[in-house]
Symmetry: D4
Subunit: 155 residues, 8 copies
């Protein structure tokens, strides 16, 4: 019987980096035995902030330090988003996480399917992002179930 899981699905996990939601999804994917390759931005906060200045030299103005770092990180994030079959974007309750919303907009313009993951309290603030998503989840477990269904066709 024809199925949909002949190829590996590449899933990019964008957004919040202070909780273990990526590990939870990774563990769920492993347990479910899904042919899913998870990718992510660099989640080491300090490395992500310092990479530009560390590699290419320090900057006096914080703006340019951030700029160098953010552009270096963009090599990784844009490449992985463009390769992805699906982008999961997680919003937490702290920080402004504009990069998560930026990634969602980027994926939306590429036509890449998006699943947004956030608590219900953020519903109104995230309505434009949710409206661009093909699914809105509240827990990592729901994301794993959605991946299982989408890739393997079983609930």
């Amino acid at each position: 019987m024809p199925t949909g899981h002949d190829d590996v699905w590449e899933v990019y996990l964008s957004g919040e980096i202070h909780t273990d939601w990526r590990e939870q999804i990774a563990e769920g994917v492993r347990r479910a035995g899904l042919p899913v390759a998870l990718t992510a931005p660099v989640t080491d906060h300090a490395a992500s902030d310092d990479c530009g200045a560390e590699i290419f030299g320090p900057e006096e103005r914080p703006f340019w330090k951030d700029h160098k770092g953010a552009r270096l990180n963009a090599i990784r994030t844009r490449t992985l988003i463009e390769r992805a079959d699906l982008v999961v974007v997680r919003f937490g309750d702290r920080y402004r996480q504009w990069n998560a919303a930026f990634d969602a907009g980027f994926a939306a313009a590429l036509g890449t399917p998006i699943i947004v993951l956030h608590d219900p309290e953020l519903t109104h603030a995230l309505k434009e992002v949710d409206a661009a998503a093909l699914a809105v989840a509240e827990t990592p477990e729901q994301v794993v179930r959605a991946l299982t269904y989408v890739v393997e066709g079983r609930l």
Copy 2:
């Protein structure tokens, strides 16, 4: 001598889910030993209807239950159609099967080759869809023969 079958052909089987036409094509492909990977939407009718509410929570209004399910299914169907080298779209004599025609339009806009599969009685009603196809078949066996010819170059 140069041939055309160096890579696997990915063929998406869209449309009607109440007869065994996908199995017939799968069996024919297997017998012919074609380097063809068949993919399909989730063909378990109940799962396909319920997936959204089952995973992300129930809805009171049928419209939103359908919406959640259809958008979750779209993650699978659009990804597989975009990956496909060829889309086969089957129309049966029951139900309205607007999703099959939707898939055909989607594939047409992507420039992906389409084979439509239906009984001759549907010719007039399906004329716009047939006009966008590179072949119109009446039986799964004809689809297998077309795949054999296209991929292997033998009648």
Copy 3:
């Protein structure tokens, strides 16, 4: 104050041709004074069916008569859909209207916004089409209100 209506919006009205829904929308657009240009397929049913054979010569087999006509009509419909800023797709309660669903799929793959217009009874059958739309209307008047809001920013 900046506005959004500097250019004319081109809106393609796809689908059902047996009621006067296009006229209702046209009348509403006129009354609201919207900078909206409405386009449509050829809605003269007989002309649409006969055009291919009429211009390029008769066919004995109905399949080829339909094929010639449908491909000639496609010159118009695809060009207008590709030009459109927005596609409204109407499904009525009669006929199978696979061409309407085909147009919706075509517009979806192009990334063109879609409004679907149909009675609530069709909700379940049209769930995949509705899921691809940015709005689902039940009456032509709602479409006009949506156009007014989208183009002029007023409710």
Copy 4:
């Protein structure tokens, strides 16, 4: 002598809706006599929140009310962003403004030039968005000067 201002430049003003920054830019453009057409999302907060439910009927769950509204607004915002030659994205010091970051990501993926407008305090939080921009301004007046330079070639 050849110039660059033969056509009107369409500039989309995305983001914060609680201060008069759009009016300041509009006034500056008018004073400078620039061939620039400014567009914007619907900036009437209440209309923007209520439009979906108002036109297509009320929802009990806030999530779906927001969803209907946000998708209707997306017809306008995506169309105007796709038409734009340049997108200016403004971040204020209140609210999370994820839609502004979403628009920036959308424009970035389209390859449309972006100018970000925000106070220096937001530099670190906005570093990924700034990194995708071709200019980062702190005041509406700087945006007007940049437009004057880009379109007319004079400082």
Copy 5:
């Protein structure tokens, strides 16, 4: 009532340059009052052959003379084909007219609708080109009738 002729249709007339078929179509379009702008390659055979060497200097080897001319002509032909809403490709009974078939392939890859115009004797030799067309005409008058139908919706 909504119509399809709000914008001018740009129609590129490719191929054979030794009979007056372009003038016949132009005359028919004029008589029918169609909002159609006809474009064409340079049809002055000598100018088309000599332009490269004439403007940029002579060549000893005929290959390079042809090359310079053909590349200069390509600035015009590709630009006009890319602008066109519809490409009409005419094959006559003399010469090999590979440039006409090249233009048809170019238009096909762009997804631009094609009408092929040729005598029935060429049917077998042109089958791949005809298969890519949305209509196959035998006379300029049929092309005019097709344009009238496509643009104005009347037979």
Copy 6:
């Protein structure tokens, strides 16, 4: 030392089917040990002509027999051309070979590199096709040498 031959190059051999030029190139590629996968249209002339009618049923009018066959062949040829890194197009001294020129135009619009292979006598007639190519060869051996250089970097 970095090289360019990490991936297999897929090379589509389009055009003339009455001499053994494809075999000569295949033999040369084998001898040179190049990581090149050669693909081609169905080169069995009879099968290529009859495939449509043979699989989907006979036609009385030759036009439709050709149409069915040519559209079925297009599934193969367009897919292989779109996959190709390089298209070699061969023109012989007999027949009109409009399909070869069509393929060249198709590849040109996709931006795929083209090598044309023909005798010097055809130079003037093929000038538009040659002008779109990145190389013009007179013998299969030259094509093999060009492939060796392009893929392996050695003369």
Copy 7:
């Protein structure tokens, strides 16, 4: 008789800014009465260097001063190149003019026709750029003659 000059041709003049070649082309276009709109980067050298720091504030490090200026200029240059039907790139005998070569590469990847303008001594050094062009001119007058031929079809 069908012609090619229904629309204005937008021609971007890239490269060297120290001689009056743009004015010569502009004068030639005017004399020939061509429907050609010429565009260009900001050719005021000082303004072009200083614009970023002037508008958005000074920088201590020259690298960032250049960066801000170059990115602001990119809003203009990329937009005008993307709008252009044709890009003329001029290389002089002084300076390295890497931005001119960059523009040529940018236009080449977009598929926009290119005419390169330079003295014969630069032929070897510019061979990759010339190879991507549809014409190589030595004088502004040749560019005007080429434009006249391409747009009006007369030598």
Copy 8:
């Protein structure tokens, strides 16, 4: 834990061919054990200059010898740039290296991330190229560190 290095990164090394910077990067990549495949143009200067004439026959005019060679090289360079996930462009202190800047413009238009590698003295002359890059390095070792960070996420 999700990572970003599931697939090999293809990195094209464009530009200067007279120092061993490519070998230094290759050695660094090897030592770091990165899943990176490095590709490059043909770096044998004589072969690169002579390839066209050598394979397809000599030319009397240097312009055409260069043209044939440059177009043959373009088959390799464009294909490898289009395949690349990242393009590193090196400018040395000798020669004009317009092909390096051309490659940078080509990659920029494709949206492919760019790292530019040059000495600080070239900063002003290369400002437009640097402005299009996501990183600017001064040494091959910095490029290796950037690759290590981007691909493996570690400093």
